[in-house]
Structures are given as C-alpha cells and as structure tokens.
C-alpha cells in the first residue's frame, strides 16, 4: 500500500512537472544557444521553456510594467541588478550564465584580417554597431575602438542597430561592410562560419557578463528554478561554450 501511494505520488509529480511551463525573456545575442538548450531542457526535465528574444532594455521596460516573464537572461549584469534593487526579481537568484565574446565581422571573406588591422586601415563606408547606450556588445565595440585610438576616425561611419540581431542583419545584408557582433551569431563548428572576422582579444574591452535572474512572477515556480539549475549544468554549459561564450 505504501509502495502504491509512493508510486502515485511520484507519477503525480511527473505529471505536474510535465504541465509546468516557464516564460523566459532572452537577450538577442543568446538566441542561438538558448534554442538548443530549451530543447534539451524540455527533454531532460519535462518542463517547457517558452522563449521571447529581444533587447535587454526593452525587456526591462516590459518587466517593470507587468510582463509575464518568469526568468530573464539579460545581455548584461546591470539590468538584473537594477530589477533586483527595484523588487522585480528574486534576491539571491542572479548568476552569470555566460561571458560574451566580441567579434569584428564582415560578410566579405577578404575584408577583416586576423588582427583587426582593418579598423586602422579603413576602406569601408559603414561600420555597424549595436547602440552603445543600451547594448553591452555596442559598449564593448566602442571601448575597443577607443583603446585602438580609431574611435574618432570611425565615429562618422557608425550605423547603429537597435539590438545585436539587427546589427548583424546590417552586415549580413551587405548594407554595412563590417561591424561588431557577438561571436555566438557567426560561430559555426568552433570557428567563424562565413565571411571574415577578428575575435577581439578580451583585454580590449570590459567583460560582457551576462546574468540570469528569476523574476517576481517566477518566484517559487519549480520550472523557473529547474531552468536556472539546468543552465548551470554540464549539458547547457557545453552548448554555451560551443557558441563561443566563456564561462567564469
């Protein structure tokens, strides 16, 4: 009898776990890895992660105005901290799930050399950059140009993407010859997939720490906690690394 009730209880637990969904707001640069991870997550835990992709600043506005997100994978560590301070996130849940790698990339296979000398040499009309005021990869790109002493000459050539996806789109369509994007957007089998690129050395910009946090709406939700734990696990971390991110 005791066995039967344990069986029923555990079946119930599985059934409820299956029914559990978690609403996740995901920074645009993490689109690729998160699509892979969510499939693994669903298979391994039975929970379903519903993903929304977009700019971190826009998510902030939506979250503070009652958006139904339960977990937030931001593109920086400032926004989750701000949400925590303002009481929209659950204290003690924030952690760095990935550290971003910046790439200077062009769809043209010959334009960008392995050392990024093209920034000094010029020969392009537009450089695409995510809005440095709002996007961490944009801020990082600006830091690189400042460090190399080319910011003043390149500034008039900058075209801004609203987020890192649009920045990539400007380059991939050829409208801008080159620009700063996330390595995760152009990586394929451990290297830059198409065109040409320069993986910017980490000493040229401040680390892009991308933090995740459980939001108020996800408080005490098993699926939200499960997703956070899953992101810290081996399988997810292997995916994250394969997209060119660093882990602490």
């Amino acid at each position: 009898m005791k066995r039967l009730s344990t069986l029923i209880l555990s079946l119930l637990a599985i059934a409820t776990a299956h029914a559990d969904e978690v609403q996740v707001a995901v920074a645009a640069n993490f689109t690729g890895p998160m699509q892979v991870i969510s499939v693994l997550f669903e298979r391994d835990t039975g929970h379903k992660a519903n993903l929304s992709f977009g700019a971190t600043g826009k998510f902030y506005a939506q979250i503070t105005n009652g958006a139904p997100f339960e977990v937030f994978l931001a593109a920086d560590n400032k926004t989750p901290a701000k949400l925590l301070k303002e009481g929209h996130a659950v204290a003690g849940t924030a952690f760095t799930y990935a550290i971003g790698t910046l790439v200077l990339w062009s769809a043209d296979a010959k334009l960008v050399d392995a050392k990024g000398e093209v920034l000094k040499k010029g020969g392009f009309k537009h450089l695409s950059l995510a809005n440095p005021k709002t996007a961490p990869y944009g801020t990082a790109g600006l830091q690189v140009m400042n460090k190399l002493g080319v910011a003043d000459s390149i500034k008039p050539l900058i075209v801004q993407g609203e987020n890192i996806s649009q920045t990539h789109q400007f380059i991939s369509t050829g409208a801008a010859e080159l620009g700063f994007v996330a390595y995760s957007q152009v990586i394929k089998n451990g290297a830059i997939g198409s065109g040409s690129g320069w993986i910017v050395p980490a000493n040229l910009y401040d680390p892009i720490r991308q933090n995740a946090v459980i939001l108020d709406k996800g408080k005490d939700k098993p699926a939200a906690v499960a997703l956070m734990n899953y992101l810290k696990g081996e399988k997810a971390q292997a995916v994250i690394k394969s997209f060119g991110y660093e882990l602490r």
């Binding site: 600043g57 695409s128 005021k133 709002t134 075209v159 801004q160 609203e162 649009q166 789109q169 409208a175």
Partner: protein
C-alpha cells in the same frame, strides 16, 4: 526642456515628412488621376499595389528595402552605377522608403476626390475648348482642393509616425536618420523615461494640432436638396 538631440530629431522628422509629402504630391497625383479616370483592366491591380503598404508590416517593407537598396540589391547597384552610392543609412534613403510607405495615404484621398468630381465638369470644360492640362489646373484642382489637403496632411502625419521602416534601414545616425520616433525608442531602451515622456508629449500635441486643423478646415456637408 528638450535636449539638443531631441530638437535635432524633431527637425529631421519634419524635414523628412515635408519632403516626402512634396514628392508624393508629384508622384501620387497622376497615379490617383489614372485610377480615378481609367476603366481599364489594370485599374484593380494598380490600386491593390498602391494599397499594399497599408497591409505589409513595416518590418517586411523595411527589410526588403534594405536588401534592395543595399550594395547587392538591384536598386543599390543602380544607385552605385549612377555614382550616388547606396541609400541605406542616408536621409534620402529614408525619403525613398517613406515615399513607398506613405503612398496610399496620398493616392487614396486624391482618388476619391477626383472620382467625386464626375464627368460633367470635364465635359463642360471640353466643350469650352479647354485643353486637358488647362482643365486639370482650372477645373480639377480647385474642385479637388479638400482632397489635396486631406491627402497632404495624412501623408505628412503618417511619415511623422513612421518607425519600423526607419529602424530597419536608418542605422540611427544623429541628424541623418535618427527621427523623433527612434529617439523616443532610444530613450525608453536606455531607461531615460523622463526624456521619453517629454518628447512623446511634444509629438502628441503636434499630431493632435495638425489633425485638428485638418478636421476644422473640412467643408461642412451641404444641407437640404
């Protein structure tokens, strides 16, 4: 109250909307005239093409304009061959995109105005031996004046309110492509909500005033008869 960059964005927006309205007056008038007067089979297809921007999401229109006007697109190759360079990320690129985007707002009110004139005044003008050009300027234009005002105001206002297309092909360059709607979006993204509120309030008051002026100028419906 407003920062310099806000004022720059507003001025740019007004310039974009003004130039787009002028260009569409020149392009839209003959199209509307043909649509109103023609009985040919292509009237339907042409009308549908003109109305397409009403239906297509700005993301679609913007993305394909970006591809078409980029260095590998047909328009981009043409403009490069002509020595103009490519249009994305330039003010004139926005003018071209806005002209597509706002086309129905110019053509449809004009077409209605031309259709409501009917055949009679034109026949009268013809019996008085007025040339078609003369007829257009001394008969059609005065009769269609309310239609021109409506079309002009709607085109202008619609271009002021444009966001998606500009975002897709503009590149957010201060003084060149950063119009007011994009500037507000930037403020929101950067969590500068006070700045966003101020600029949005200016836009709201401006839009309301323009539309109010248009509705007050509308001729009163005729009574009796």
């Amino acid at each position: 109250m407003l920062t310099d960059s806000d004022l720059q964005a507003i001025w740019l927006t007004i310039r974009l909307a003004g130039i787009t309205t002028m260009i569409l007056l020149l392009i839209g008038t003959p199209i509307a005239w043909r649509l109103a007067r023609s009985r040919s089979w292509w009237k339907g297809p042409l009308g549908a093409v003109v109305a397409l921007p009403l239906v297509l999401p700005p993301s679609v229109l913007g993305f394909y304009l970006l591809l078409a006007m980029g260095p590998f697109g047909p328009v981009g190759q043409l403009t490069t061959a002509l020595g103009i360079g490519t249009l994305p990320f330039t003010f004139w690129g926005l003018v071209v995109a806005s002209s597509f985007y706002s086309l129905p707002f110019m053509v449809q009110p004009l077409q209605n105005a031309f259709e409501s004139i009917g055949d009679r005044p034109l026949e009268v003008a013809a019996t008085l031996r007025a040339s078609p050009v003369d007829t257009f300027f001394s008969v059609v234009l005065p009769l269609a004046k309310p239609g021109f005002i409506t079309a002009g105001v709607l085109t202008f206002a619609h271009t002021v309110g444009e966001f998606g297309v500009v975002l897709m092909i503009g590149g957010n360059i201060p003084g060149v492509t950063r119009v007011a709607s994009v500037q507000i979006y930037d403020h929101v993204e950067a969590m500068e909500y006070a700045d966003a509120h101020r600029l949005a309030a200016v836009m709201l008051i401006f839009s309301f005033t323009v539309l109010l002026a248009m509705y007050l100028r509308r001729p009163k419906p005729a009574r009796g008869d």
